[in-house]
């Protein structure tokens, strides 16, 4: 299949990295200091840097699970737009996370989110989080997002 060359009127394809770098530093994402880590056609990776402020278990100095939830919610959300090559407003409908093991104290956590199915109204996502070795994840997630409006040209 050949694609028509972009005309001056056609909007540029959605750039997940540029979008995240512009929007990711504000609000809750900025508070957690979540960073861009990489992407391919249907997945996006983000990095959650270790900070003492993220501790949920003070005795064992372990990261709380909430920040990992936010990491995976963001990575899977971006993977949807990356797969569509467009921005379309969406809201998380439901999300499940299995916390397979605690993330290592002091270690950054990498989240890889994937969109494996897009329908007219719903995007189906899944992902893993790890702290250095993707074959030894700290969490698995699965969820759905619902679209709340038409795609925008950015």
């Amino acid at each position: 299949m050949t694609e028509a060359p972009p005309s001056p009127e056609s909007p540029p394809a959605f750039d997940a990295e540029r979008f995240f770098k512009r929007m990711g530093s504000v609000g809750h994402n900025g508070t957690l200091d979540i960073q861009w880590h990489g992407a391919a056609d249907d997945w996006v990776e983000l990095r959650l840097p270790w900070r003492d402020a993220l501790i949920g278990d003070e005795e064992a100095r372990l990261m709380a699970s909430g920040p990992i939830f936010t990491l995976m919610d963001n990575a899977t959300s971006l993977a949807i737009w990356r797969k569509m090559k467009a921005f379309r407003p969406q809201a998380t409908l439901d999300f499940r996370i299995d916390y397979i093991r605690p993330a290592g104290s002091g270690r950054d956590v990498i989240g890889r989110g994937e969109c494996y199915r897009l329908t007219h109204s719903i995007a189906f996502v899944r992902g893993i989080a790890h702290d250095g070795d993707a074959d030894d994840p700290v969490a698995h997630c699965a969820g759905t997002f619902m679209f709340t409006g038409p795609a925008w040209s950015l």
């Binding site: 609000g27 809750h28 900025g30 508070t31 699970s65 936010t70 999300f95 499940r96 916390y99």
Partner: protein, 131 residues
């Protein structure tokens, strides 16, 4: 009940005053903002997890020694967008077993009957006397 962890301070989460059921509250602000004007789903999830922990700690307060509490998994439904208002969350211990606790936890803003999110969280109780 143990004091809330550093992650709760980051979110601005505190124990609601004069409440015997471990209700937590989280004010709106930049630290919990998602898309403009709305709470981030991750901040709501964080509040729900903290409230689930708090309700479980209240339920096991009399156990000696105190078990370690480890989250196994969490399933959350987002029901309404969280607006620029105080958000409350409270957990209910569905079943407290020797090794597993099943917790239902809900979050709301102005009206406790209009939930913005609810979750089911399973915890492992490790190192309790009978485990």
């Amino acid at each position: 009940m143990r004091k809330l962890p550093p992650y709760a301070d980051l979110l601005g989460v505190t124990l609601a005053p004069a409440d015997s059921r471990a209700t937590l509250m989280m004010p709106f602000g930049g630290q919990v903002l998602g898309r403009p004007g709305f709470l981030h789903g991750g901040a709501i999830a964080g509040l729900l997890e903290l409230a689930a922990f708090a309700s479980l700690e209240l339920a096991i307060a009399d156990l000696d020694p105190q078990p370690r509490i480890k989250p196994i998994n969490m399933t959350i439904d987002f029901m309404r967008g969280g607006r620029e208002a105080m958000t409350y969350a409270r957990g209910t211990v569905g079943r407290l077993g020797q090794r597993i606790a099943n917790i239902d936890v809900v979050a709301w803003q102005d009206d406790e009957d209009r939930l913005i999110a609810r979750a089911h969280i399973n915890f492992l109780l490790a190192g309790s006397a009978s485990a």
